[in-house]
Symmetry: C2
Subunit: 365 residues, 2 copies
């Protein structure tokens, strides 16, 4: 008997023992989408016997997602589609269901990693390590850099550090970027974590470890037992608006939905304390980038740390130019461990359904 | 009665309420050292009635420290010298004692801050956020950057990322810098913290919070009660040499003494696991920088995070050029809070001794 065929859209880690096992059980077809036309043709031709589709993070996005016409062209042999993503946009959940094809997502297996990224942005938001390092790589002299930056100023309009003096002979401790921007410890400052699932609670654990006071915003408050299990005190707010006045730092860890769109905007920025900071690791749509930039220009905000962007995969030129902003290219959970764990999870969904006749681990439609 | 005179070598924060109180009690002479000759003259002249000296971090270093000739020139009225530093080098401890002048240091009030710096370097050591950001600021495109870096390589010899392809159209998850350098989570990896006082234990707390297994090296093992009070498991090693074979990460948090000089050297680097990382926030002399560079060039080490340098205040050009090294300009504890707390501590030493006839808080000679 020939082995059942599985279509791979995007690469798993082929070195994994789990993949070797899988390859012995299935015929793996590694396919690269070039155009929708070719894809539709191939689904009726050389891909017409596949029983499962393994979709990497990008999935069918290059051809606009699993749209109605593609779903209709999927072969009758197809039992399931399993995606590496948590989010369901672009995976044609309902259309697949209508055709009796099961869709599986992958729960965030990278929560620890995303929380580490937030911690990184948080440390930057108080200590401005990158500004110090960039100058230090030019000056090659510890005291010179501290001295130059202590007499410098941060131009709020552009977000750029302007060196005001070439005299770097004075000793400086390194606790200021000019007169207007103090370097502070996060210890004792207030963090408001918006979204408090597996990622949010791990973010809170880390921010607590560096001495921050933790508040969280979530539609439904945790039970007192759940709060106690965190092992550190937290304060609950029903909305970001209510929490904003205490937020030395706002961390956005939310999915991109119509409810979260534009959540961090001028109204919130007007409410936060002077020199507040914001970090977004959810979706780019959550932050109104125009309002964010206005907040930085006015000095109301002293820092933004972004891993996701309004017009992703592009990022606005104005953000790129600023030194009071830290930008990472949507790599919150990007580690080898997470990549592999996610691959293995998807392979198991396929084995579970096709080989063992079970329901799979994470069906969503 | 005229107020007792206090000589300030280096600036306190004059806006502090504690300084206002102090100014009402003492005549504060803010003095800038220009040359040893002038200083010696002034100590016999306009500074000849000072009862205390407040010395900032730099202190008398510009004229070679509180050398024998300066100590001899200090006025008979002088009762104490209080320094913002922890370390005693350059403060003429013994010579001052012979003249009956008390010397006070300042215990590290910035332990939390130094531990935050270590956490920052640790996150960089596993995730290479700076490499991603630097490329991202050029490409302006999240997927392009991840794709370019995934097909790139890190030249071990120079420590520079070499882009191998201009084709950035393929999706990439961002979990590799080329084939040879995986982006890993610190979760579950082993950290060896060398030096385990107030700073070391705070470092350990943070590294535990990001999921690392903690080992520590200290001359004397903590009591089992002290270990239990940490609230996370630790493993003790009597020497770095014994701990090295398990060290995915070595953190050096030690004073610069003859015992710690050259502690992290070729012998240790030969013992650590492949792709081990090292962070030094103690003193530059602890790391043999030639051996460190050789370790990076050979690929045995995958990262170094440095806040202190062998030839400080200068840093070697070769380190500056490398992207597998993160360099901060000795700003481990540089925050406004620490600057102020240290100032206040020194002012209290002076008040304690001069106004209240007590022993002061931290006499060292």
């Amino acid at each position: 008997m020939s082995k059942p065929q599985v279509l791979f859209i995007g690469e798993p880690n082929r070195d994994l023992p789990e993949f070797h096992e899988f390859s012995a059980q299935f015929e793996c077809i590694h396919y690269k989408i070039t155009s929708k036309e070719t894809l539709l043709e191939d689904l009726q031709g050389k891909l017409s016997k596949v029983v499962a589709i393994y979709g990497s993070w990008l999935g069918f996005h290059p051809v606009g997602g699993l749209t109605e016409d593609i779903v209709q062209a999927l072969p009758d042999s197809l039992k399931l589609v399993t995606s590496c993503s948590v989010g369901l946009d672009g995976w044609g959940s309902e259309q697949l269901a209508k055709r009796g094809i099961k869709l599986y997502n992958c729960p965030s297996l990278g929560a620890e990693q995303v929380a580490d990224l937030v911690l990184y942005h948080t440390l930057q938001s108080f200590r401005y390590f990158k500004v110090f390092e960039d100058n230090f790589r030019e000056s090659g002299h510890t005291v010179k850099t501290r001295s130059l930056l202590q007499s410098a100023s941060l131009d709020k309009q552009t977000g750029k550090v302007v060196l005001n003096s070439t005299d770097s002979s004075d000793y400086a401790f390194g606790h200021r970027l000019g007169d207007s921007l103090p370097i502070l410890t996060p210890f004792g400052k207030n963090a408001v974590v918006v979204g408090f699932g597996s990622i949010g609670s791990r973010i809170a654990k880390r921010l607590h470890a560096i001495g921050m006071n933790i508040s969280y915003v979530k539609r439904t408050r945790l039970s007192s037992e759940q709060e106690a299990q965190l092992l550190f005190p937290v304060k609950y707010y029903a909305s970001l608006k209510e929490a904003a006045p205490v937020a030395d730092l706002v961390v956005l860890s939310l999915p991109g939905t119509s409810e979260t769109e534009n959540l961090y905007n001028k109204e919130i920025i007007d409410l936060v304390p002077h020199r507040s900071r914001v970090i977004n690791v959810g979706r780019g749509t959550i932050v109104n980038e125009d309002d964010l930039l206005a907040g930085l220009r006015s000095g109301k905000l002293s820092f933004a740390g972004l891993d996701v962007y309004a017009k992703e995969p592009a990022v606005s030129r104005e953000l790129i130019e600023r030194q009071d902003v830290i930008l990472t290219p949507h790599i919150g959970s990007s580690t080898v461990e997470n990549f592999n764990d996610t691959s293995i999870f998807c392979l198991r969904n396929i084995q579970d359904v096709i080989l063992y006749g079970k329901e799979g681990l994470s069906r969503v439609n």
